[in-house]
Homo-oligomer: 136 residues x 2
């Protein structure tokens, strides 16, 4: 029950773009440098490819190119980024669509339903404008 | 961010033992049959070995043997079972001990701290006596 490494890196990368929003594109080397990310360029390229496909970032080609947010940071939530990278949030099998806990009346399901709603709401309620403002 | 298959099976197995608490040991074939679990006997043996090591179940050897809860179902929470199988709950790197989000002032950390507390409390607040009572 833990956020994937890809999810961690995506959030950190988006945080850099949010803090520079309006200043032009930021390239991947710079993104990694700013947040001390140690993964390879290939790894980050893959993650940013996924974020671009989800319309969260836009790739800017050529000299001085890189990535910028595809929309204002206040309109991008933690949940948007996590679900872009990991797929729809599902704390357990019951939260799949369709649910994969087949047993009728499975008594743990309401616990997961409730938790899933809480986690979704918390992650959807935090946007990258708020987060970037809190950067030291 | 999803419960592992091992976690799902452990919860379902514990639910069977909780519903039969006081009736003597239940063997693994019976546990799988009751809850429609399709994994191999070897897989379940491994999981119940982990649960026994965590003092949640007791193995009873010999004819008529199997497993029984090591303590009353009201004293075993969902969190106990999940942490026995998956290790200490950690929704992200910041929740490791010691925390592995090294950046001072990382602004996403309070979000994870808050979520982790909510998830822990919800899972710790549900015990197997409550859950077993709700079985159809």
């Amino acid at each position: 029950m833990e956020l994937s490494t890809a999810g961690e890196y995506a959030i950190r990368g988006m945080l850099v773009l949010a803090s520079r929003h309006g200043d032009g594109p930021v390239n991947l080397d710079e993104i990694c440098r700013v947040r001390g990310l140690s993964k390879s360029r290939e790894y980050m390229t893959k993650i940013f490819g996924v974020l671009a496909k989800a319309d969260l970032v836009t790739a800017v080609r050529g000299r001085g190119g890189g990535y910028r947010l595809a929309r204002p940071p206040k309109d991008i939530s933690l949940l948007d980024v996590i679900e872009a990278v990991e797929g729809p949030l599902a704390l357990n099998l019951c939260q799949h669509d369709p649910p994969q806990c087949r047993e009728p009346g499975y008594p743990v399901r309401p616990v997961w339903d409730d938790l899933q709603a809480k986690v979704r709401a918390a992650l959807a309620g935090k946007n990258f404008a708020q987060l970037a403002r809190r950067l030291p």
